[in-house]
Symmetry: C2
Subunit: 215 residues, 2 copies
């Protein structure tokens, strides 16, 4: 079985670096070291250096990396300069939260339209995005050449909506439902499972409690 050539975790970290590097408080710092980033984010400095070696053009001893160059390099590496068209399915609270989220555009993600099956929402707009009937998903995705589908529907409708997206030629699904989606191999799925995250949170918590109150 083939595995990922470059660790997915690294992409996660690069995004963290980017976020850190863009911080207001660093606006006047022309250079920054891997050690500093590592300390700030609680990571190992060699790890940071290795990540930056993959995504960036290299730094200078004693000085570190050019902050602006590093930002540009990471954004390039993460594909934030290419633009991807997306649609969102399910305009509930979570859907609205994602539609409101400024910052996706900076990552090259453009939400073109949203879909919902609620007649009261169909035809209206939210944050400047049109809300259309879910019946039109595949047609519209084809017409607009959409590559990403964001799923924020109830779990029970998730597979159906996903199938419509796939039918519409979408190549990646960002799944915010707990459903275990089936897609053809050519369509990637990234799951954002709240329960799974919560499981880890609770684990961290209990681990932590045990540490403090040994018995």
């Amino acid at each position: 079985m083939r595995t990922t050539p470059v660790p997915l975790q690294m992409y996660h970290r690069l995004s963290l670096y980017l976020n850190y590097l863009k911080q207001d408080s660093l606006k006047d710092a022309p250079y920054i070291s891997a050690t500093a980033i590592a300390n700030e984010l609680g990571l190992n400095d060699v790890l940071v250096r290795k990540d930056l070696a993959v995504a960036g053009k290299g730094g200078k001893p004693k000085i570190g990396y050019s902050r602006s160059e590093l930002i540009a390099d990471i954004e390039m590496f993460l594909g934030y300069n290419d633009s991807f068209e997306a649609v969102l399915v399910g305009v509930g609270n979570l859907g609205k939260a994602l539609l409101s989220h400024k910052g996706f555009e900076d990552c090259g993600l453009k939400i073109a339209v949203a879909f919902d099956s609620n007649p009261e929402l169909i035809g209206t707009q939210y944050k400047g995005k049109k809300i259309l009937s879910s019946a039109k998903i595949s047609d519209l995705c084809k017409r607009l050449n959409i590559s990403i589908g964001i799923l924020t529907v109830p779990a029970a409708c998730a597979q159906e909506a996903c199938d419509a997206l796939v039918e519409g030629g979408v190549r990646a699904v960002w799944n915010f439902t707990p459903a275990n989606l089936k897609t053809p191999e050519s369509v990637s799925v990234k799951n954002e499972d709240m329960s799974a995250s919560l499981a880890i949170l609770i684990k961290l918590l209990t681990e932590n409690l045990e540490k403090r109150e040994p018995d």
Copy 2:
């Protein structure tokens, strides 16, 4: 540096198993094999068996594991039987989405109250949860013996809100903002960084596109 004794990823997977095992379509299946779970979730069967060996009581050759027993074992292992009191800070769309989410209760998470700084929201309720002034965070957390804080405020207020939670004795923070929170060692933080997830999604997507269109 000490690392996690039991892989965090495992907790993530256990939650997936749980979700799968509770599926309606399996309601009449008394037994289920690690192989079946692995195939369904796209994992290695030995990996699943290893996870289940840690969390469960073991299965029978040729048959598999008792589905109901497995569910109980995993829930026990994940600490879903213990109940944790939580508060949510920031009743925007995302906050509302989380307040609406049924299913946290099944995991032992009880959101006691919510906080916001918007005067129009303060004093109202959402989904049966009272919304109080953010100024009261630490006092109330102390009084109610809250152990988990859920952060769904704008990034700019994140550290401030987090400090109030820590002051209130919270032991774990579920951070839905992109802020890089500073907490004492005794307080765990679980970050849900959208940009970082998106970075991985885009990576999966482009990887996928390259596979299909080699040049």
